[in-house]
Symmetry: C2
């Protein structure tokens, strides 16, 4: 039997896993891509080419070293802000039993991956509530917020390439438990604050969009969007009061007058009676808002437009022209508005008209319904988070209770809060990439700095070697993730372009200028506080800034101070 005799420092081990290299087989040698070819690749294709991920099947992701490091960095920021706020981390089983989901009527969901009586967890309201209930037995123990970052599953029929809509994905989900509604809303606001800090730290342009039906200033559910031209969602924001909402959900104030021309959409109800909906030409009808008016029951299985009309015509003929026709008019359609003729035969039909309905989506230029003055701006976004106030939606059907101050049993007041962690990796890749490849904010980049030696560096002798080793040691000591690319099968130029394509924020070239080094800037500056340091130290550190051949900023500085310059630049990136 071998016995143990190891005497290494006991607390250091876990850090080792964070090292990452661009020279594993997955990322090296770099792909031979012309700028033209690169531009044609979708972002998922680019992530695959560069060795961040692999996709064995539609909607599934293998995380390779660079991708996993990036994912862990995003996770790290999310962990930090949850821990700082006192949230308790758990990690639940991915398998969840049907009995719990049946209680909340969610077992029938077609998007659950099922294995007999179990499903692969898509979210964890039921499991978490059932887990905490025996422990969270008194109002004194609340507020209580618990969270996890784990893989989640959704049997997504429309799964797309890449990280935006997968069947397996990494999600942060948090759940708050409170003794009353007032306290629950405090927890809800606290979580919204955490979200703002996380997205700020991730260096992402974000908006917190109202996701409640109704007023743009509603406050019980928010979608968190990364603002991007490539977004699938449209959100509107008020420049005056900063209220913001998804156009699919929130209402705006429209102008008071009637439009000249109206558009129309046709639907049927379950009796195949005709529903004609009139709204201003050029605006987008919101069926959701129509349904919320609760005036007619649209049956979408009968289709819309021409299909609905022809089905009505047929049924109406068979019923001796006696079927009812409903006409719904938007608030901006009325006297003076030109309305399309009804393209069906109607004679004895009863016609019912509703007017003054608010049934179109908000759009650029509408008046903000929250402050009543601002003119809404429209933008595209990708949803990466959601915060919900839930009330007793889950605690009541699960009969999850605690003992309140007055000794009575009460259901928890809950909230739930999601962030698509793997989705964020995909979105950042998408919105920051340029013609040369990926670009990562420093705090989520898998590597901060690639150090590349030119031929001259090798010939410079022992003094230079000592200076170089000291430089690398100081960088590492500052928490900078650095790789010295010593691969022998590709040359200097290829190493440089590989590092840039992969999106490493800084490339340091050690060569002909020694003891000066060149720092090429590949990443994006989100702030420019380094300029102050530059002003005060440029002389002492021999630090100049010029443009590189490729048009990017290039910093030239004495190797003895290069670590400090690099740290300052990274803080801004």
């Amino acid at each position: 039997m071998l016995l143990m005799s190891c005497k290494r420092a006991f607390a250091r081990a876990p850090q080792a896993r964070r090292s990452v290299s661009t020279t594993t087989i997955f990322s090296h040698p770099p792909p031979n891509l012309s700028l033209k070819q690169l531009a044609k690749l979708t972002t998922p294709e680019l992530l695959i080419k560069l060795g961040y991920i692999a996709q064995p099947n539609s909607g599934l992701t293998h995380w390779l070293p660079l991708g996993q490091a990036t994912l862990e960095n995003v996770s790290g920021i999310i962990h930090k802000h949850h821990k700082d706020a006192g949230c308790v981390e758990v990690s639940l089983s991915s398998l969840s039993h049907s009995s719990l989901w049946a209680k909340t009527n969610r077992w029938q969901n077609n998007e659950l991956f099922k294995l007999g009586e179990y499903c692969l967890a898509a979210t964890a309201e039921e499991e978490i509530t059932s887990l905490v209930t025996p422990h969270l037995n008194s109002y004194k123990k609340m507020p209580f917020i618990v969270y996890q970052i784990t893989r989640k599953y959704r049997n997504e029929k429309r799964s797309r390439g890449g990280l935006l809509r997968g069947r397996e994905f990494v999600m942060k989900d948090a759940y708050s438990f409170d003794a009353g509604k007032e306290e629950a809303l405090v927890s809800f606001e606290k979580m919204n604050d955490i979200y703002a800090k996380i997205f700020t730290d991730l260096r992402l342009p974000f908006v917190k969009a109202n996701a409640d039906s109704g007023d743009i200033g509603g406050d019980l559910s928010y979608e968190w969007h990364i603002v991007s031209e490539v977004g699938e969602d449209t959100v509107v924001e008020c420049p005056e009061c900063h209220a913001c909402g998804n156009v699919e959900r929130v209402r705006s104030e429209k102008s008071e007058g009637y439009v000249d021309e109206s558009d129309v959409s046709y639907y049927l109800n379950e009796n195949k009676e005709l529903i004609c909906i009139y709204y201003p030409k050029g605006r987008k009808l919101s069926l959701k808002f129509v349904k919320e008016e609760d005036l007619v029951e649209i049956d979408e299985q009968f289709g819309e437009g021409a299909k609905a009309l022809s089905l009505f015509e047929e049924t109406n003929n068979a019923n001796d022209n006696l079927m009812t026709i409903y006409r719904l008019c938007d608030v901006n359609v009325g006297p003076g508005s030109k309305m399309p003729d009804l393209p069906v035969t109607f004679s004895k039909n009863h016609m019912i008209t509703f007017q003054g309905l608010d049934i179109t989506e908000a759009q650029e230029g509408d008046i903000c319904s929250s402050c009543g003055t601002g003119k809404l701006k429209e933008m595209k976004g990708v949803e990466v988070g959601h915060t919900f106030y839930l009330g007793e939606k889950y605690s009541a059907p699960l009969d999850a209770t605690f003992i309140d101050k007055d000794g009575s049993k009460k259901h928890y007041e809950m909230g739930c809060y999601g962030i698509g962690v793997s989705r964020i990796v995909g979105v950042v890749a998408e919105i920051l990439r340029d013609e040369k490849g990926l670009r990562w904010p420093a705090r989520i980049a898998p590597l901060h700095v690639s150090v590349i030696k030119s031929g001259q560096a090798e010939d410079a002798g022992a003094d230079s070697t000592a200076a170089f080793d000291g430089f690398i040691a100081r960088l590492t000591g500052r928490g900078v993730k650095v790789e010295v690319d010593g691969s022998e099968d590709i040359g200097f130029g290829k190493k440089l372009s590989k590092s840039k394509m992969i999106g490493v924020p800084l490339q340091v070239i050690v060569g002909k200028l020694v003891p000066l080094v060149e720092i090429e800037v590949r990443g994006v500056f989100f702030s420019e506080t380094f300029r102050e340091l530059h002003e005060s130290k440029k002389g002492e550190w021999n630090w100049s800034v010029e443009k590189s051949k490729s048009g990017e900023d290039k910093h030239i500085v004495d190797i003895a101070f290069a670590d400090q310059v690099i740290e300052a630049l990274l803080q801004d990136m």
Copy 2:
């Protein structure tokens, strides 16, 4: 739109997640357990009571803060040694498509959890091979070793409570790829070295047991066992040459003589002919070895013993007593051995006898088949790891090839290497627990030190507070995971016993002796190098050692040096 303006240090975030507390609702207040009640709990029950894990359903685990921290510490050590050796980390999708498993004839495995055309990955030979093949196209890129620590799944019918045999579990799996058999065996040995380092670092008494059929000194597959009385497996080890093997798999040399008395087991073959197997009374028959002799085909569906005999009797009667009877005799059963009478009617039956077979398991006292001299020692073990040399077992059916030196296409020579990460947490809990609760080796303990203030500490004024804060800061600076238990709902004694029950290695009491503090030792010493420090510093640091009321070692030392004493003690624990 909110824009980002955060200027925090960019590289620190990920560390935050490692903090853990014993005062979350899952572990606080501590359970009211008498020592008698505690002793009756199984280890899984104890882990649940103390808030390490929850088990929502048989074989499934929710990881709670203490359990997750412990699991991460074990993972951290495993990561460290794989990274140090240059293994490349990935993280594969948990869903894997049937087409790959069909190629290696593993799709029919009943223990795979299946969802339509996908399964939940139980292991990743197919996926990894298919993932690396496009990249690993030349002998120049090998050896290549890739690994991951992820959840794995097995539709285990016999799933047990706790962490030993779950349907979902955390596993480290690594895969080596080489250009030839010789190189593959180098990788295999390298992985075995990594395993020895990991288990040494985990402070666990382990053995590397031969898992090849045959000679105890075989070298192409090893089981890694934690030695423990609670183990399910029996392994034998040679004190001379240190060869070691699982008794279910390896052969030993038995004495040369015939025993006085033999035992017998009865089986049938597929024609319901009787098979009588004679072996020394008191030894364990190995059906595996019988099958390896390839003399008769045992059909286990017909049962054994009385059941087999009665079925034979019935069939033999119907066949006019003409059925064959096979007699297999162990090498130590022969002339002079008393053999049980055959308890069935036989008259015209043909009887076939085989003699000199090696068909019993190795046991304590047998001669080592590897060195031929040592007398084997027997011990119980729990298997926590396995290393396999695979050859072309997977690369051939998957047709996974590379270009070799001579320009020819060849299949990879592979190896695969598993460690049950969550299982290790369960095994350590089991083997180190005592009558007071859990005990963790310092390097995997969720917390290293609980600091508990007694009433007197609160009254001691500002000087004392500054000394206390400095002490905590120095501890943290040394990488010691410390919690100051400030919970107000339980008293001093309960805090102390809670920390001990949870298995925190050291309890520091700050109170009546200030500026001296008391350090109670709850954990296990694996070495005692601290004694040297004690000899040289006991005077200067006012450091004495005595027994606490509960019989454990207690160190008393000036608070100004307590952090150094604690670090020294933890290094040994």
